[in-house]
C-alpha cells in the first residue's frame, strides 16, 4: 500500500492539531460568553465521559450508533463521494425495524431481532443507494441529494409514526407499538452497554478487511483515486457506487435498528437526535478509515455523554457540547489544507527562533 508510516503519522498529527485548535476556540468561548473556567469544564467533561465505569458505559452506548452511522459516510468516501444523508438512513431504518419487530414479535427474540436488522439494513441501504444512483446515472450532486433525502426521511418517519404505524395508546409522543421487553436487544455480559457496540465494531473490522484484503476494496480505491482510469480498466463504476452506498446506508439503518431494539423499544421522533449528523463528523475526523472510526466515535460519544454534567455543574446550556462538535467539524475541514505540505517551514521557523 502506498500509505507509508509517514502519511499515517501525518494524518494523526493533523487530526490531533485540529482537535487541539477546537479545544482552544471552545475554551475561549467558555471564558468570554459563559464566564466559565475552561479547564474546569474540560475536567468535568473528562469525568462525565470517561471518569467512572458508569459514565464510560454511557459513552460506549452513545458511541455504538455513531460507529455505524460514520460508515455511511466513510464507505462512499472511498469512491470519492461525500454522502451526508446518514440521519435519514438511520431514522428510516429505525421505523422499518420497529414495523418488522411488531410484525414478527411473537416468533421469539432472535427471529425478531434478525428481522428487524434485515428490514433496517434494506431500507437504509436503499435510501443511500438512491443518492448514489442519482449521482451516477443522473448527475445529481450526492452531497446535496443525500442531505435533502434526510429531510424527506424525517418527514416520512413522522408520517408513519403519527399515521399508519401509530400505537393508539401513545398519546403525548406518537410512537409505534413497543416491540416488547422480551424482544429487546440485550447488553454485553454484565455491563449496561448493548450489543449495538459489537455490531459497530464488527462492521468496521469487516469494512477494513474488505478494503485492504479483497479485489473489491482495491477496485474501490482505484475508482476513488481516478474514475477515468477505473473506466479504462473496465470497472463497472456504477455498480461499485451502488454497492458502497447501499452498504453505508445499511450500516446507518442498523444504527436505527439498534436505537429501537436496545434503547427506545419503539420508533418515534427520539430517533432523530443527531446521531447521523455526528456520524459525518466521526467519519471525517477518522479520515474515513474504518478502524479509526471506533476510537473517534468513542471520543465523540464521550463529548455527548458529558453534556448533562456540564449542564448540572456549570449551568451551561445543554447545547454546549453541540457547539463544541460544530467547532471540531469546522476545524477538521479547515485542517484538510494542511495535508501533503512540506513541514520544513516549521523547522526553519524553529531554527530562526533559536538564533
Amino acid at each position: 500500500m502506498s500509505t507509508g508510516i509517514g502519511t499515517a503519522l501525518e494524518r494523526i498529527a493533523v487530526s490531533a492539531l485540529a482537535l487541539l485548535a477546537s479545544a482552544v476556540i471552545f475554551g475561549l468561548l467558555l471564558i468570554l460568553y459563559a464566564g466559565v473556567d475552561p479547564f474546569e469544564a474540560y475536567a468535568l467533561m473528562y469525568q462525565g465521559a470517561f471518569g467512572s465505569w458508569f459514565s464510560f458505559q454511557n459513552t460506549l452506548t452513545r458511541a455504538a450508533p455513531l460507529i455505524l452511522t460514520a460508515l455511511c459516510t466513510a464507505l462512499p468516501a472511498r469512491l470519492g463521494l461525500i454522502i451526508i444523508g446518514n440521519e435519514g438512513a438511520l431514522v428510516l431504518g429505525g421505523v422499518a425495524a420497529a414495523a418488522a419487530g411488531v410484525a414478527v414479535a411473537a416468533s421469539g427474540p432472535l427471529v425478531t431481532n434478525l428481522a428487524m436488522a434485515a428490514a433496517a439494513m434494506i431500507v437504509g441501504g436503499a435510501w443511500i443507494a438512491l443518492a448514489g444512483g442519482l449521482r451516477q446515472y443522473r448527475g445529481v450532486n450526492e452531497t446535496i441529494s443525500s442531505l435533502l433525502l434526510t429531510y424527506i426521511a424525517i418527514a416520512l418517519m413522522n408520517h408513519f409514526v403519527e399515521g399508519p404505524l401509530r400505537d393508539p395508546t401513545s398519546l403525548n409522543k406518537p410512537s409505534t407499538p413497543p416491540i416488547g421487553d422480551a424482544n429487546m436487544l440485550g447488553t454485553i455480559g454484565g455491563s449496561d452497554v448493548h450489543w449495538g457496540l459489537a455490531f459497530g465494531i464488527v462492521a468496521c473490522l469487516l469494512c477494513y478487511v474488505v478494503q485492504r484484503f479483497t479485489t473489491f476494496g482495491f477496485a474501490m480505491q482505484v475508482i476513488g483515486g481516478n474514475p477515468k482510469t477505473a473506466r479504462m480498466m473496465g470497472l463497472n463504476v456504477g455498480r461499485y457506487v451502488l454497492i458502497a452506498c447501499a452498504a453505508g446506508g445499511a450500516a446507518a439503518g442498523l444504527a436505527g435498528m439498534v436505537e429501537v431494539a436496545a434503547v427506545h423499544g419503539k420508533a418515534n421522533a427520539s430517533l432523530a437526535v443527531g446521531y447521523g449528523f455526528t456520524g459525518i463528523l466521526v467519519s471525517f475526523l477518522a479520515r474515513h478509515h474504518p478502524l479509526a472510526i471506533i476510537p473517534v466515535a468513542i471520543l465523540l460519544g464521550g463529548i455527548g455523554a458529558s453534556g448533562g454534567l456540564l449542564q448540572r455543574r456549570l449551568d451551561l446550556p445543554d447545547a454546549a457540547v453541540v457547539v463544541l462538535q460544530g467547532i471540531i467539524f469546522v476545524c477538521i475541514l479547515a485542517s484538510e489544507t494542511l495535508y501533503g505540505r512540506s513541514w520544513t517551514w516549521l523547522w526553519r521557523f524553529r531554527a530562526a527562533e533559536g538564533r
Binding site: K228, T229, G234
Partner: protein
C-alpha cells in the same frame, strides 16, 4: 525593453534521497535564445522551477544582469521580469484576450476602465511582431493563437526573460515555425532573452544560439549551437551513441479483423457529436494510424474504445463480438491502451507503482487466487520484474507513482499494458513530451506488438510518427474519416490536405 542576462550558479535540489539537480550552473547571455536539452527526468523542469521560485532550491545563486537576486516566490521572479510559458495553456478559456491580459496584472484597480484598457492593449499590439484578436474568448482561438497569446501576455506584463516549457508541443509545424521565428526576431533585436525546454533537435538547430544539456540532474555542458550536430547533442543527452533498435517490420498479409467499428457516433463533453458514424476495420498484425489536427474527434474515439466514454450510436465489434468495454471483455479479448498523459488518464496518482502496474491483473492469479481475495506480495513481485524489464526508474515498487517523471510513468503503463501480449492495442500520442530515447523504445515496442500479431490503432498528432509506424493511414476531420490510404503508397500532400479539410 532590454534583454537581461541570467546566471544560475551551483543549483542543487533533492527530493527525498534523489538529487533532481546536483550542482548545476548555467549562464544565459543577454538576448540569447538558449535551449535546455535532456531526457525526461534530467532536471530541466526542476531547474527552471527553481529559477522561477516555484521550488526552493537546496543550494544555488541567481545572478540577473550580473547582480545577485533572491527569488523565493514566483511573484519576485515576475517583478524581476522573469516569465514562464507552459506546455499547456494557462489563459482562462471563457474570458476574452483583453480580460485575460488585464486580469493577470497584479495592480488591478477596484473599477476597471475597459475602454482605456482596450485602447492600451491595442496600442501595445501595434508594437509587437504578431497579435491576437482582443475581444474573442480564448476558447475560440486556435492552438497556435493561444500560444501566441500566452507569449504576448508575458510581453504585456513587461517580462523580458521568458522561460518556455516545450512551447511547440501543441502546435503544428507551421505554427511552431511562425511563433519561433518571431521570438527569434525579438531576441536578435535584444529585446528579450529566451530559455526554452525542448526535445526537438530541428528547433534547436534552427533557432537556438546555445544549448545546455542536463543528464540525471548533472550538468553535461553548455555549447554554442554552431559547434554541435545532432549526433553530438544526442550523445550529450544520453551519454552514448544512440544504438537504434528499430524493430524490423515483417511484411506479411494482415490477418483477420480484430476491431470493427460500425456507424460509431460519440458526443463530446458538451453533448455535440465529436465522432459521426465512423466505420473502420483493423486486422491482426497491422497498425492503423489515425492522423488529424487535434480536436477532430480523435480523443473522443480513443476514450470510447478505452471504455472512458459512452457511445451515442453504432457499435464496436472485437473478434466479431459486440464490445461494450467491460472488464471481462477486456480480459477475454486482451485489450490494451496507451493513452496520452498517462498519469491523468491511465494511473491512480496516489497509489504505488506496484499497484498501478497491477491495475489490469489484480483480480487474476497470482494477485488474486479466486477473484475475491487480494494478495499483495505476488503483486509486488510481478511489479518488481516488470519494473526491471521495462527499465522504470523508481525508488521501489511501493513508491507513489505521482513521484515519477513523465517518461517513467509511461514506461510503467507500457509494462502493465504490453506484458499481457494483447490482441488489440489502442495507442494515443504515446510519445507526447518524451525524450527521443524513450520515444524510440516505445515505438519499437508498438511495432513488436504488431509483428506478434496484435491489431494496433495509433492516434497521433505527430504526422511523422504516423508515417513511420503505420501500415494503413486514416485521416480524421470533423469527426469523420476524410481519407484512407495504404502507408506504402501514401502521398503526404493528400494527407495534409485531408487534415486541413480539403
Amino acid at each position: 525593453m532590454t534583454a537581461p542576462s541570467l546566471e544560475l550558479i551551483g543549483f542543487t535540489k533533492r527530493f527525498g534521497a534523489m538529487a533532481a539537480l546536483d550542482d548545476v550552473s548555467v549562464k544565459i547571455e543577454a538576448g540569447a535564445f538558449h535551449a535546455l536539452l535532456g531526457e525526461n527526468g534530467a532536471g530541466k523542469s526542476t531547474l527552471v522551477k527553481c529559477a522561477m521560485g516555484y521550488y526552493a532550491a537546496d543550494q544555488g545563486q541567481i545572478l540577473l544582469n550580473g547582480r545577485e537576486v533572491e527569488i523565493a516566490h514566483p511573484r519576485q521572479a515576475h517583478e524581476l521580469g522573469l516569465g514562464m510559458v507552459y506546455q499547456h495553456f494557462t489563459l482562462v478559456p471563457n474570458m476574452t484576450v483583453l480580460e485575460n491580459f488585464v486580469l493577470s496584472r497584479g495592480d488591478l484597480p477596484a473599477v476597471i476602465d475597459w475602454t482605456a484598457e482596450r485602447r492600451a492593449l491595442n496600442a501595445f499590439f501595434e508594437t509587437t511582431p504578431f497579435t491576437v484578436p482582443v475581444d474573442v474568448p480564448v476558447a475560440d482561438l486556435a492552438a497556435g493563437q493561444k500560444q501566441k497569446g500566452e507569449i504576448l501576455r508575458q510581453l504585456y506584463l513587461k517580462r523580458n526573460l521568458l522561460i518556455l516549457d516545450e512551447p511547440t508541443s501543441v502546435l503544428t509545424p507551421d505554427e511552431a515555425d511562425e511563433v519561433l521565428t518571431t521570438l527569434k526576431k525579438l531576441t536578435t533585436s535584444g529585446q528579450i532573452t529566451i530559455v526554452t525546454i525542448t526535445h526537438k533537435f530541428r528547433e534547436v538547430n534552427t533557432y537556438c544560439d546555445a544549448v545546455t544539456v542536463l543528464r540525471r540532474g548533472q550538468l553535461i555542458g553548455t555549447k554554442p549551437t554552431s559547434e554541435l550536430d545532432n549526433d553530438r547533442m544526442a550523445e550529450m543527452m544520453v551519454g552514448r551513441r544512440e544504438t537504434r533498435t528499430v524493430v524490423e517490420r515483417e511484411t506479411r498479409p494482415p490477418g483477420k479483423a480484430v476491431l470493427k467499428l460500425e456507424g460509431l457516433s460519440v458526443a463530446d463533453n458538451v453533448g455535440q457529436l465529436a465522432v459521426e458514424e465512423l466505420a473502420l476495420e483493423i486486422r491482426a498484425g497491422e497498425i492503423v494510424g489515425i492522423a488529424g489536427v487535434s480536436g477532430n474527434g480523435q480523443r473522443e474515439l480513443v476514450e470510447t474504445l478505452a471504455g472512458q466514454r459512452d457511445l451515442e450510436a453504432g457499435r464496436m465489434l472485437v473478434h466479431g463480438e459486440v464490445y461494450t468495454a467491460t472488464r471481462p471483455e477486456m480480459v477475454r479479448h486482451k485489450i490494451a491502451c496507451l493513452p496520452e498523459e498517462p498519469l491523468r488518464n491511465a494511473c491512480v496518482a496516489d497509489m504505488s507503482v506496484a499497484e498501478n502496474i497491477a491495475l489490469r491483473s489484480f483480480d487474476q492469479p497470482p494477485s488474486s487466487p479466486d477473484g475475491i481475495r487480494l494478495r499483495r506480495s505476488p503483486m509486488r513481485e510481478t511489479a518488481r520484474k516488470l519494473i526491471e524489464a521495462y527499465k522504470v526508474k523508481t525508488p521501489g515498487p511501493d513508491a507513489a507513482i505521482r513521484g515519477l517523471s513523465g517518461g517513467n510513468v509511461q514506461r510503467a503503463v507500457l509494462a502493465r499494458e504490453l506484458s499481457s501480449e494483447g490482441d488489440l492495442l489502442i495507442v494515443a500520442n504515446p510519445c507526447f513530451g518524451l525524450d527521443f530515447a524513450a520515444v524510440a523504445e516505445i515505438r519499437a515496442r508498438i511495432v513488436q506488438a504488431r509483428n506478434r500479431g496484435a491489431a494496433v490503432l495509433l492516434v497521433s498528432e505527430d504526422l511523422d510518427e504516423i508515417l513511420q509506424l503505420s501500415d494503413r493511414i486514416v485521416v480524421m476531420f470533423d469527426g469523420k474519416l476524410a481519407l484512407q490510404t495504404d502507408a506504402a503508397t501514401a502521398e503526404v500532400g493528400a494527407i495534409g490536405r485531408a487534415m486541413a479539410g480539403h
